[in-house]
Symmetry: C2
Subunit: 303 residues, 2 copies
């Protein structure tokens, strides 16, 4: 089964303690679709400006990503500039230029309307709902959001959440959305807003999934060199949702496997700037790291 | 096999967002030995003042803890006062009165000198070494320390670490000890100082163990109500070292089980102030939570 993602394509300028890059390929839809492309066919709806080079579109195509839904508008592509300190869990945004993304109104091409799995990356919750009104009958809807929308468009976001199966956000977003500092209680509240599954991303501490009263905790892969965390959350979501779209099995045990695949993709992504590491993985590398997650977490049952 | 712990006994005054207690039983040796007592016999070397009530000694004895090494000095018992915000990972110390602990020089009773497992709680590294000079031939030495000694007595601490098998510290201590922000690199450096095993406690994110190139990551048990994190690290160490002292099996797979038992004890401890929750557990409750850790972390192998 194939997967539809609606999100951003951007040029990122990023500084970390380990180096600096200027205007490299980024954006939630880019990271998500590249990561998901290792598991399933992906179709992207996004917008780029007239300055967006063909070579990047060719790259996405080379990953068998359907880019017919990428609209080209007059003007400049979305730009983001950020910096990370030694605490790589938190980005400090230095500059955001929305450019053509400012007036982005996702138009879902006719041929995408029957996609069974939809991922709504972090965009205005009004637009997220607008996308859902354009698609016919998805089996699984997953979405991301951020503090900006939680604070500024709470009511709209709550409307969107009523239509969502899986919400994938980070620690502080979960606490803020639920207005509750304890994560377990926050998760219960969020699940009452609509989603049947909440996945909380915790950066170097991994991810934790809540469904009814079942909880699954996965660590992050311990790395000696984390060069750039930009896009890690979207790569996580891409591996997670991509694996689910490929298997179309939404049972607990398969969701857990999907969390590990998401964690694998995030761990590869942070090993280099932009998409340098994840643009050309072997599937065997993905499987090998999955097995390493098993070795990392396994302990014996009580006898 | 039985276990020797050298550490502090204190009166704690603690404020958390969920309540407040005044001068309740605390201290590293108290938490450690109570937790370890569910797994093995424990002997304690510590000091209390003339104000220390008999009932607390009777409590420790009721847990089959050997208290003959607890010295009673003229003066007041060590007092600590601290506060936690909603971020329960970090204590803010409001007041420390060392009192009789100021001049504590551990004297290991003759009958303890052949103990095979020794835990050096967080005390002056000079004293930690002094303890090791008094015991005969321990098979396993584990120890804790804190930023105060890492900053103030680094050379002495490094001398102690040469004599230690397992170092059990928290995230920020590991980074500071190694002067290295990346935890995997920090661990490698610390293992080069002497210990063959490093266990890093990460509060609500669990624990991670490093040995040669093997890493084991365990989450913390997700709790809806964390009342008071005081003593969680010592309860973790008590369960971890207590289980190892009971089994005397130091293979990787058994160390991993020990990490889970430590995590179980820490998770019970934070459910109430002081030792209220861990003072009277059933062993079946410990085993049940161990099984819950398995359910919390299990995912399928690749087929």
């Amino acid at each position: 089964m194939s997967l539809l993602v609606v999100g951003s394509i951007a040029f990122d300028s990023v500084k970390t303690p380990f180096g600096e890059v200027e205007e490299v390929l980024g954006g939630s839809a880019t990271y998500f679709s590249t990561s998901a492309s290792y598991f399933t066919e992906v179709a992207v709806v996004a917008v780029v400006g007239s300055d967006f080079p063909e070579k990047y579109l060719r790259f996405l195509k080379s990953r068998r990503i359907d880019i017919d839904g990428i609209e080209r508008s007059e003007g400049k592509t979305f730009r983001w500039k950020g910096e990370y300190g030694y605490d790589l869990n938190e980005a400090h945004t230095l500059d955001t230029q929305l450019n053509v993304f400012q007036s982005f109104r996702p138009k879902i091409p006719e041929k995408y309307k029957d996609k069974k799995v939809v991922f709504l990356a972090n965009i205005d919750p009004d637009l997220q709902r607008d996308v859902l009104h354009q698609v016919n009958d998805p089996v699984l809807v997953a979405c991301d959001t951020m503090n900006y929308w939680i604070e500024g468009k709470r009511d709209s976001l709550l409307e969107t959440l009523k239509l969502v199966d899986i919400l994938i956000i980070n620690d502080s977003e979960a606490r803020e959305l639920a207005k509750e500092p304890n994560l377990v209680r926050a998760a219960k509240k969020i699940l009452s807003y609509g989603p049947n599954t909440l996945v909380v991303k915790r950066g170097e501490y991994g991810a934790i999934m809540f469904r009814d009263d079942r909880i699954f905790a996965a660590p992050a892969y311990p790395l000696e060199s984390v060069f750039d965390p930009t896009g890690a959350g979207d790569c996580f979501a891409g591996g997670f949702v991509g694996y689910l779209a490929n298997t179309m099995n939404f049972e607990e045990s398969n969701l857990r496997k999907a969390i590990i695949f998401g964690s694998v993709m995030a761990s590869y992504n942070v090993e280099a700037f932009s998409l340098e590491r994840i643009k050309s993985l072997d599937y065997s590398e993905i499987e090998e790291r999955y097995r390493e997650f098993k070795r990392l977490t396994h302990f014996e049952d009580l006898t």
